[in-house]
Subunit: 640 residues, 2 copies
């Protein structure tokens, strides 16, 4: 009998002792980080509203209770009873019964009404029918990504349970190492922006944090192939943690599965969906540009199948000696700061991922309170000594001015934007400005994946700023459903029409003008000096966006896909409106550290170009008297 | 055709163009770092005394010329002619003909007379008989190690040529990496003494420097098994460089071959022989103490078979992008500072190994002049702020005082000493003191491997201090042959006799009282308060030597081999006479850096306990304004 099996037997005994007489336990299993208890008396189990919480606290595990399949009423009877219990207004759109695990997945427009106060409605369901309900939100805007991911996971349910069981046994294995240490190895995004990748390693465990590409330098990938980087290869990793879905953090996560990785990816639910969307698009763009994609779309599916989604604040065992907690990072939907607690009080490290310190229209500001944290790995995109950005209020005023001016001369405003994050922020600005009459009401065309990304945002309002959540919950006040927004789904023809039509605003990907429909918009709108191009996001070195921002007005079109060659002369005005960045600026980064509780002992400044990381490192050292570093790629720091 | 073959073809063409008409080249091959030229006209080739030098400088390679076997006269004729050419006084003891390579190995008591002025005698031999002579010294004191190693290598000659050819092709392979970096990973001996091991890695190459164990903590070995440490395993290493033969640097070199390593070990010739001696003894001690040895003696033979010996100052290609030069480190016989030149002027790193900065009786002081060096990895054994040692002159006076005092009370002086290094230094002190009448002439008994190690010293006088070389060359003045020295080869019986006899001096291993005959001497001499125990070398933490030095007088004998248990009460006086260390003291380390030319930009202080490395690091930073570090094990520093 293996150590894990012995452990499970002991757990089953403890649970049997703990539950009231008359509740019988038929099995106890690990599924990923969770302990699943199967009972032949699910209704009685559910009757004691506090039982699960008591067990969880006694066993120090996350617990899920499921009915022994033998004990269940048939789905047809259950379906009717469930429909009766849930209020009409909850807007149930689907009930999906899984006889193998006794779960019923309830998709509803208003999940809160399915759950009930403190979970009372859910408990009622189990008490009545025995099945364990699981609730997901029906997207208010239809999202093919969300429905594809959900369908795929449904279809792969069995495979996924095997994976989760295997991962669960890995997590709860007995510790083998007789030494303790904590190390971080930098595999990318040091003294540069892009290709984020770090390994957190202990004598027992290796965790990869992020695995991105580098915008504008597709051949520069994280150092995964250096033999030292991942030890004897990707299969030696215990876990991958994805802070957020932007490609400079996520693009090469699927590649790991090609390299033989077969373990979990921990991230939030929206990060999982957005990663699916963005990596598939990444493959698409590579194909269009004639580059060999580093992996096939099957690997994206593998990645999604291996995702274990966790919510902000949930402390999750991911290895015998590591607990992971994700916290809101304020950067994009689902973006997280990954906090690792190593050993039994041995050490704590937080990886900021990308952060925005203050609230934006979309998100609450990044969390910087932790139970403990000795080392912080901090992004430094705007860490340079002069990287102070305009206040968003001023930026918004500026943007509205540009729009008004362009409108008056009958021109169109073209805004390159990342599909995920800045687009929705700008949409919120425009919606309010039109509603308040600060700019004329006019069409706002959304091209590329912006519409789809917006739909994903509305599927996970819990991850948005509090007041925005409220608005989305009420359909008539959902800002993303405003009449002015038009999803460009008619291709070139529709773009031509828009270009020929009256004044309007176009938001299009890619955000750094590295391919995508923005190239086509440049062709349509670029030659007319009445039009304006407005940059609202960070343009990495080496990207066409950065070049245009720097004054290039002769744009080679030949190697940018879509089969058209030649050079395009840009006559439109080019403006940059700072302050919409998803990144904290220098002030924000300093404030993040200043108000951080507790203050870390060491800070590694990463994810910024050489001078930004060095400036920030030096400033934090002088200001807070902490040990700071601006690491290079392929270095290893030992903390314990 | 592989790139290496193409390269060899081109080299053959160039050489053919370069040599005078009438000299034909039949083959060109790599053997390890050397380029071997086979000629059908070896005599004509040898006639032009400057030809090899001209070729070497043109091709920038180390060159060996060998006769095409077809062109050779038979060994019997050659033997006679060679005997005629070499002066009688050279003391030739053996001629060994290798028809496969056209080499004749000449063993002689005075190799210099075989070589002749500027190699004139060697050239004469080739001109006369065609064979390529190679000269080795007949040990003035018979050494079983030297003769075993030589016989073994003779027997494995064919296998070895295969190895060398394979290594040669590896070294001269085409560079594959399109990036450049230089990194050092610490696998041991950081903030501790013992288990020295570093990896120097570039995008192209990985070199392991040293691979030792830790005295007093046999279970603490370098971090070779951490998957990140050696990449995908020992077979991923390109080369191993061994700075010197002490076990804390060499003990686990043979283990690498068990782990699948199959490449070269670069070291000096005496380091090779001493490594053989010490690692075999290491296995022996482990067996005696009932510990499972980490490898079998066959692995020691593998290690020796893979040694490529190089001389101080010879610049040697060991990879497409790395040149190695060994320099005298002044620490023990054959000990080296390993200097690496990376890329074409990209970077230079020197690993000090263990050093002694000033001259000792045995060795010239460590070299600290290099063409270039940006980073120095510096030992810090005596790097602590109070680690100033007595001048050797004072120490010698002190030792002589102790000996005289003990002699007067009819006692015996017991000196635990490393077989290699300190023993010979003390022997020289004692020999001179008796010769000069400063201490009474009395027997000096050498137990353990001291005698054998001394024999190896006399085999390689080139590695000793200049004036000592001269004395060894003249048998009647060879200090190691003084009458007082007695090799204990009669076991317990002889030890009992010595203990029962009159006043004398006993030098015995192990140097840190961790097993070996010293344990037996403690039993014989320990109870008598008229005897004295004198520590003359560094006692690592955790060793019995350190404990006795600190005042322990109840010694548990049970787990120290030799099958006798119980506790031994020590009544003899214990003294420590500093100043004979093979290590530079704090002043010496500072002087080494101060006078180093050029001064390095960065210094990594290693091979010292936590406070020593930190003290030295901080002192060098403040004194010389260089970047200094006191790394932990398992860190990686990137320099380029």
């Amino acid at each position: 009998m293996s150590a894990v099996e012995r452990q499970l037997d002991e757990l089953e005994e403890t649970i049997t002792d703990e539950v009231p007489a008359g509740i019988s336990i038929s099995d106890v299993k690990y599924e990923g980080p969770e302990l699943v208890i199967y009972t032949r008396d699910p209704k009685e189990f559910a009757a004691d509203g506090d039982l699960v919480r008591r067990l969880a606290s006694k066993l120090r595990k996350r617990i899920t209770v499921r009915p022994d399949p033998d004990s269940l009423s048939g789905p047809e009877t259950a379906r009717e009873r469930i429909r009766d219990i849930i209020p009409e207004a909850a807007g149930v759109t689907d009930l999906d019964f899984h006889a193998d695990t006794g779960e019923v997945v309830i998709e509803a427009g208003k999940p809160g009404m399915v759950i009930g106060r403190h979970g009372s409605t859910l408990r009622e369901i189990t008490q009545e029918v025995g099945w364990t309900p699981e609730v997901v939100r029906t997207p208010p805007i239809e999202s093919s990504t969300v429905s594809n991911v959900r369908n795929f996971l449904k279809q792969e349910r069995e495979d996924r349970r095997d994976i989760l069981e295997r991962v669960g046994r890995q997590i709860h294995r007995e510790e083998m190492a007789d030494e303790q240490w904590v190390r971080i190895t930098t595999l990318g995004c040091c003294r540069e922006v892009g290709r984020a990748a770090f390994v957190l390693s202990t004598a027992e465990t290796r965790v990869l944090i992020d695995c991105g590409d580098k915008p504008g330098a597709e051949d520069e990938v994280p150092y995964l192939q250096v033999p030292e980087a991942l030890g004897a290869g990707a299969q030696n990793l215990d876990a991958v943690v994805l802070t957020h879905a932007h490609l400079d953090h996520s693009a090469l996560v699927p590649l790991l599965f090609k390299y033989g990785y077969d373990g979990p990816i921990y991230c939030t639910e929206p990060t999982r969906d957005l990663m699916g969307l963005l990596t598939l698009d990444y493959l698409d763009v590579a194909a269009k540009e004639g580059r060999a994609p580093p992996y096939e779309s099957g690997m994206v599916r593998e990645a999604i199948k291996h995702c274990i989604d966790i919510e902000y604040g949930d402390v999750t065992d991911i290895a015998p000696d590591i607990k992971l907690t994700l916290h809101n990072a304020g950067h994009i939907l689902g973006s997280s700061i990954a906090h690792f607690h190593v050993g039994d009080g041995l050490y704590n490290v937080a990886f900021s991922g990308d952060i925005h310190y203050t609230d934006t229209r979309l998100f609450n500001g990044a969390v910087n309170e932790f139970p403990r944290v000795e080392t912080l790995v901090l992004e430094s995109t705007y860490g340079g000594r002069n990287d102070y950005q305009t206040d968003q209020e001023d930026s918004e005023r500026d943007l509205k001015r540009v729009i008004n001016e362009t409108y008056e001369r009958d021109g169109t405003v073209l805004i390159p934007a990342f599909a995920v994050g800045r687009s929705q922020e700008i949409m919120l600005v425009l919606e309010e400005a039109m509603r308040e009459g600060e700019i004329p009401s006019m069409p706002v065309h959304l091209d590329g994946m912006i519409w789809e990304a917006t739909a994903i945002h509305t599927t996970y309002p819990e991850y948005l700023r509090d007041d925005l959540q409220d608005r989305i919950f009420h359909e008539d006040r959902n800002p993303f459903l405003a009449d002015e927004f038009n999803h460009i789904d008619g291709g070139e023809e529709e773009r031509q029409e828009v270009a020929d039509g009256g004044p309007c605003i176009v938001l299009s990907t890619s955000g750094m003008v590295e391919g995508g429909p923005i190239m086509s918009w440049l062709r349509h709108l670029g030659p007319d000096p009445d039009n304006r191009m407005v940059f609202v996001g960070y343009q990495a070195q080496g990207t066409l966006g950065r070049r245009i921002q720097n004054g290039w007005d002769e744009i080679p079109m030949n190697d940018r896909g879509e089969g058209r060659g030649g050079t395009l002369t840009l006559n439109l005005d080019v403006e940059t409106v700072d302050g919409f960045s998803g990144h904290a600026d220098r002030q924000g980064l300093e404030n993040f550290v200043r108000t951080m509780n507790p203050r870390p002992e060491k800070v590694l400044c990463v994810h910024g170009d050489e001078s930004s990381t060095q400036d920030l490192s030096s400033a934090l050292y002088h200001e807070f008297n902490m040990r700071t570093f601006a690491p290079k790629n392929l270095e290893t720091f030992r903390f314990k």
